[in-house]
Subunit: 372 residues, 2 copies
C-alpha cells in the first residue's frame, strides 16, 4: 500500500499543517520528527526504546546499506524491517546526499554519478534506476528519488542545469519504480533561487509523487536563507501531499519549518550531540562535561518523561560521559530524540489551538541559541 | 544488615554447593555470576536489562570510582545504588587489584601502597583503612579487604611476606570497618603454594569475615595451576560462609570453580569480548566478524532466551559489528552475560540432581576451547 497523507487542519496564523500519514506500519501524526537509523539502527538504541519515546517513521541510509551489508543480504533477510527488527515505518533516502557529501563524486554525467566508496575507495556508479532498485530491495515504506544535492553556494547557471537534470532523474526513477507498491517521494532543489525552487517544485509535482522532499538545505547556508528556501518550495507544493524537509533538526528549525508548511523532519543531531555529551533542554543545549553538573543530582529536564530523565541525574550522566562510558551516549540519545519528538507533539497542540506563533515566542524566550 | 549465606545442599560427587545469599537488596541463589559494572555501570547496559537476564549482585570498582567521580560525590548522591539506579546488591572490590595491575605501584610499604593514577599520573596513597573508608562511602552491600595481589610467578619468599602483610592489612581493614553494617570479605592469597594458601585461609578466617574471596588467580598462571590455587584455598574455608573467586569468568572456569567449592564469580569477559564482536555459545566463542555469518539469519543461540536471541540474527549483529555500530556490542553484551548466568542456573540444577560431573562432561563435549 502507498502511504496516505491526510491534511486535518491548517493553522490559523501560519502555513503550518496538522495531518496524519498512513503507512503499512501504522498511522502517525504530522508534523513529525524522524530519528535517523543510518546503518539499520538508530545509534545505540533498540526499536522498543524508540517506540517508548514516541518515534514514528525512522530513516535509513541507502548509500550506507548498499555498501554494507549490501541490499541483497537485507532482501534475503526479508527486508529492512525484519533485518533490523523495526516494526514501524521506514523511509530510505536515495543515496544522493551521501554520494555528494561523503564519497565526493568523481564524475557527474547525465547517466549518473561515479564516486569512490568512503569505506575502501572502490569506484562505484549510482544512477536514478539503481537507487530505486536498491530501495526496492531494502523494502522501505517510502523511497526517495535520486537527486543532485549541490553545496552552498553555487552559481545560478550551475543550479539551473542541476535542477533540470534532477527533474530528468526523478522521471527516470519514477519509471523504474512504476510497478512497486513502495511509496516514492520527489525532491525539490534549486538552492536559494526563488525561480528555480518554483520551477523544481512545479516540474516535480507534475510527475505526481506520493510526497515531496525539500533538499539542498543544511548544506552551508545561513538560517534566514534556509527558511527562504523552504518558503520558495512549499508554496508550490500540493496541499494533499506530505512535505519532508531533509536533514534538518535543530529545535528552532523544526519550529520555523512547520510554520512554513513542513510535515516531516529528520536529523542525526540528537544522537550525534549525545555521543559528545550534549543534551537538548528548553533552555538550550547543555554539555554534561561541564564542571557545573558535577554535583547536580537533578534530571536533564525535570518535566521530561523519557527513561533517562525518570531515572538518572546530570551528575551520573556527567560521570559516564567524562569516563567515556558509552551508556552516557545511550541515555543522552534517548533524551535528545524524545526532546525533538515532544517538541513536535507540542507543535501539533499549538496548531490545533491556532497558537503556533505564541508557542514559538514562548520557546524562543527560554531557549539559548548556539553562537554562530 | 550483613549478608547471610545459607548452604542449602552439597553436591554428591564434588565440592560444589547450592546456597542462597540474603542481602539488603534481595535474596539470590548461588553459584552465581556477577556482571562487572566497573565505573558504576555495566558497560552499555541499564539495570532493567540486567534484571531481565537474571543478574543478582553486580560488582563495581572502588579504584575507578575513587578516582572518578570520587566517593564524596557518590555519597552525596545517596550511595552507589542511587547514583547508578541499581536496585540489586552491589559488591565493591578493594581497589587493590587495579592498583597492582593498572596503576603500577610505586612503592609498597607496611602502611600502604603509593601509586600513580592511570588517568592523570597523580601520586596517590591507598591504605587498608582508606579502602574501607571509600567503600563505606560508596555504600555497597559487600566490601572487600585491601590485599596485595602479586603477579604470577613470584618467589616463595616474596609470596610468604606478601601473604603475611595481606593478613595484617585484613586485620587493619576489619578494625576500620567495625562500626559498619556493610558486609566485609577477607581475601585468601598465597599464589600456587599450597602451604601459603592454607596459612592465608586459616589466618584470614580467624578474623571472622562475612565471606571469603580467593584472589591471585587470573594473573598469568595456567588453568591447572589456577584450579589448584582454588582447591588449596576452599578446603580451609568455613562451610557456612560464601566463597567468591575474583576475576574469573570463562565458562569452563566457572564449572571447575564450582566443582571446587566456589559460590560467586565475576569477570569483565562477557562485556569485553562483546565489544570486540564475540559471542559465547555452547559450541564455544564465535566472532561475528567472520564471513560465515554474513547470511546467517539465525540467532546467536537458538535455545537462548535473551532479548538479543529473541529478536536479532547473526547476520544483523555481524552487520552492526563490522560497521562499528555500538548497538552490536550492546546486543552481544546482553547475550554474553545471559550466557554465563544461564550457565550458573544449569549448574545449580545439576547440583540439585547430584549430576555436576555429568553436566561438565556434556558441556565439554560440545564446547570448543580457545587455543592457548
Amino acid at each position: 500500500m502507498k502511504i496516505k497523507y491526510t491534511l486535518i487542519k491548517k493553522e490559523g496564523q501560519t502555513d503550518a499543517r496538522l495531518g496524519t500519514i498512513e503507512t503499512n506500519h501504522g498511522i502517525y501524526e504530522t508534523p513529525m520528527f524522524m530519528p535517523v537509523g543510518t546503518k539499520a539502527n538508530v545509534k545505540m538504541l533498540i526499536p522498543e526504546e524508540l517506540k517508548s519515546i514516541g518515534s514514528g517513521i525512522i530513516l535509513a541510509n541507502t548509500y550506507h546499506l548498499w555498501l554494507r551489508p549490501g541490499e541483497e543480504i537485507i532482501a534475503e533477510a526479508g527486508g529492512l524491517h525484519k533485518f533490523m527488527n523495526y516494526k514501524g515505518p521506514i523511509l530510505t533516502d536515495s543515496g544522493g546526499f551521501q554520494v555528494f557529501s561523503l564519497a565526493k563524486p568523481k564524475d557527474i554525467t547525465e547517466e549518473g554519478v561515479t564516486f569512490k566508496s568512503h569505506i575502501d575507495g572502490a569506484k562505484i556508479f549510482l544512477t536514478p534506476e539503481k537507487s530505486i532498485e536498491i530501495q526496492n530491495k531494502l523494502d522501505s515504506d517510502i523511497a526517495m528519488s535520486f537527486d543532485e544535492c549541490p553545496p552552498f553556494p553555487v552559481t545560478y547557471e550551475y543550479m539551473k542545469q542541476s535542477v533540470e537534470r534532477t527533474i530528468r532523474w526523478a522521471k527516470r526513477g519514477k519509471d523504474a519504480h512504476k510497478n512497486s507498491q513502495q511509496s516514492l517521494f520527489g525532491i525539490v532543489q534549486g538552492g536559494e533561487f526563488e525561480d528555480l525552487r518554483k520551477y523544481s517544485a512545479l516540474e516535480t509535482t507534475k510527475l505526481d509523487f506520493d510526497g515531496y522532499s525539500i533538499g539542498g538545505t543544511s548544506v552551508g547556508e545561513d538560517k534566514p536563507t534556509m527558511y527562504k528556501m523552504i518558503e520558495y518550495s512549499t508554496k508550490h507544493l500540493p496541499p494533499d501531499k506530505v512535505r519532508y524537509l531533509m536533514g534538518v533538526g535543530e529545535p528552532e528549525d523544526i519550529i520555523e519549518g512547520v510554520i512554513r508548511g513542513i510535515d516531516i523532519f529528520d536529523c542525526v543531531l540528537p544522537t550525534r550531540i549525545a555521543r559528545h555529551g550534549n543534551a537538548f533542554t528548553k533552555q538550550g543545549k547543555i554539555n554534561l562535561k561541564n564542571q557545573q553538573f558535577k554535583k547536580d543530582f537533578t534530571p536533564l529536564d525535570e518535566y521530561c518523561d523519557c527513561y533517562t530523565c525518570q531515572n538518572y541525574t546530570k551528575a551520573y550522566i556527567r560521570h559516564l560521559v567524562t569516563s567515556d562510558e558509552a551508556l552516557g551516549g545511550r541515555l543522552l540519545s534517548i533524551h535528545n530524540i524524545r526532546f525533538l519528538i515532544k517538541l513536535t507533539e507540542e507543535i501539533r497542540n499549538a496548531i490545533k489551538k491556532d497558537k503556533l506563533l505564541e508557542y514559538r515566542e514562548a520557546f524562543y524566550l527560554n531557549y539559548k541559541f548556539r553562537k554562530k
